[in-house]
Amino acid sequence: MAASWSLSGALKSMFARDTIDADTWSDLEDALISADFGPDITDSVIEELRASVAKYKTDDPTDLKRMLRETLEERLARLDPTLTLSARPAVVLVVGVNGVGKTTTIGKFAKFLVGHGRTVVVGAADTFRAAAVEQLATWAERGGASIVRPQQQGQDPASVAFQTVERAQRDSIDIAIIDTAGRLQTKSGLMDELGKIRRVVEKQTEIAEVLLVLDATTGQNGVAQAEAFIQHAGVTGLVITKLDGSAKAGFVLAVQERTGIPIKLVGQGEGINDLTGFTPHVFVQNLVG
């Protein structure tokens, strides 16, 4: 069985040395690349650290480790991770590519909100994927939320979204969370469909949050995903799922910095309670140790 990989493990050899030398920098580069930071961010982090090391005239690897932790944490903490859910109803649209964990996240999120005394309705606007509606219904039941289903097979997803918001307004439900079908960001027809869902809902009420779900195992394609979904769906927050695996999701730093959209939630398992808010400190601790 492969042991859980960690950047801290990869960095061990680097910090085992007495002084910072050429090997230290090349080990650091390897470690950042292996955590999916990507070549661009890796270069920029290393450049920054080289400057700090020169400025503080240190050659102690322990200092370098602290600086690494600080710079990553500082860069990740530049944006505000707070969810805005004060509107009534607060409408949350959940989007992303295929199989990243949208429907599962909605189940967990509903449970979390219900646990905090909110009423929740979920809308099954994925009318495409086989058994997507049934899957969401199972999660809604587990999470203590009600559900709005399509009335017929293959119904227009925008009309399901409309009916979900309508239900929330009529029954004074606090929060409406709308599930959408997975779609690759390169499919323009499907991306336009998201725009339509948005416009239809916006006629009823302002959308509180559009959450883009990103899979932690993703590599550099995550940036392209974020850019396209921001353009078509007006994303307001990121959710990183599957952080319970061996992937460390370093690509999210590039996503945050290029798009200015904060990470708001983190998924760490298939159980209904495996969802937390995003804390840069914890994320970096998990990475660097």
Binding site: A2, D40, G99, A130, A216, G219, N221
Partner: protein
């Protein structure tokens, strides 16, 4: 923050090669510059770092070596070497499914959560049915909410039979279901059995053991590892974990209809030595084809038309 933007590798290499034109032999510095560009492009394409190091090392060695070709100038030779090496790792000819001498042929699917296993079960069964086979889909993912329903819907869309004796959603034993399925297939004369399993993480020892137990119970002719083309550096750890855990016989690359460069293909093929057999290219059940190593090579490096590049060099 400054984010360097590079053109694709074709452009970058074309630039590098401009300086090399007319030279009889590449200097070490020339080769190093070119290899650096290639390294960068591979990392941008999510090829695993250890594979990149290995690969660029080999390219460098060959480029500096005395492989004399009268037809190509040095720059052209580098491109040729890169392409050859890529295609070699990705596999020359796509391997076909090994059918059992005594039917049914048993194919087990495994992979991370959301990789595309259940969809692939539908695609594979439809493809085999069109070829005169009588496949049976087996619902052995009893964990993910409504995975059984999903497989039933997919089977109906593919027009094939499904064996789903347990409701799932946490109820039923997948090992037992897989075993029963073999008997059912023999009785009903299905010549291929395709077993859908739950998604699992490489680090999940318990679920990996379960997959191994399913494998032990049905002794499959093929175990296909389905991997998402968008995966990053984690491809290595995950592929190793599945190889140790269930020991797959072939790889399927999914979601190749997007714009991910698919460095995972190179990583997994290189790390595990298992052939990539199929490419999954969409959500529809017909979006599926045998894998083409040469197309994948130019996709990973964003090389566009390699022949054009060689002509320009």
């Amino acid at each position: 923050m400054i984010m360097a933007t590079f053109g694709n590798l074709t452009d970058r290499l074309a630039d590098t090669f401009k300086n090399l034109r007319g030279k009889g032999k590449l200097s070490e510095a020339d080769v190093d510059r070119t290899v650096r560009e290639i390294r960068r492009a591979l990392l941008d394409a999510d090829v695993a770092l250890e594979v990149v190091k290995d690969f660029t090392g080999r390219v460098r060695e060959r480029a500096l070596g005395h492989e004399v070709s009268s037809a190509l100038n040095p720059a052209q030779q580098v491109v040729q070497i890169v392409n050859d090496e890529l295609v070699t790792i990705l596999g020359g000819e796509a391997r076909r499914i090994e059918f059992a001498k005594n039917p049914p042929t048993v194919i087990m699917l495994a992979g991370l959560q959301g990789a595309g296993k259940t969809t692939l079960a539908g695609k594979l069964s439809k493809w085999l049915a069109a070829d005169g086979h009588t496949p049976l889909l087996v619902a052995a993912d009893l964990q993910r909410p409504n995975a059984v329903t999903q497989l039933q819907v997919v089977a109906e869309q593919a027009g094939v039979a499904v064996f789903a004796p347990e409701p799932g959603n946490g109820k039923g034993d997948p090992v037992k279901v897989a075993k029963q399925a073999l008997k059912f297939a023999k009785d009903k004369q299905h010549d291929v059995v395709i077993i859908d399993t739950a998604g699992r993480l490489g680090v999940d020892a318990e679920l990996m053991k379960q997959a191994a137990n399913i494998r032990k119970a049905v002794d499959p002719d093929e175990v296909l590892f389905i991997i998402d083309a968008m995966i990053g550096q984690d491809a290595v750890k995950t592929a190793r974990a599945f190889q140790e855990g269930v020991d797959f016989t072939g790889v399927v690359l999914s979601k190749l209809d997007g714009d991910a460069r698919g460095g995972a293909a190179l990583s997994v093929a290189s790390i595990t030595g298992r052939p990539i057999m199929f490419a999954s290219t969409g959500e529809g059940l017909d979006d599926f084809e045998p894998f083409h190593p040469d197309r994948m090579a130019s996709r990973i490096l964003d090389l566009g038309d390699i022949l054009t590049l060689i002509e320009q060099a």
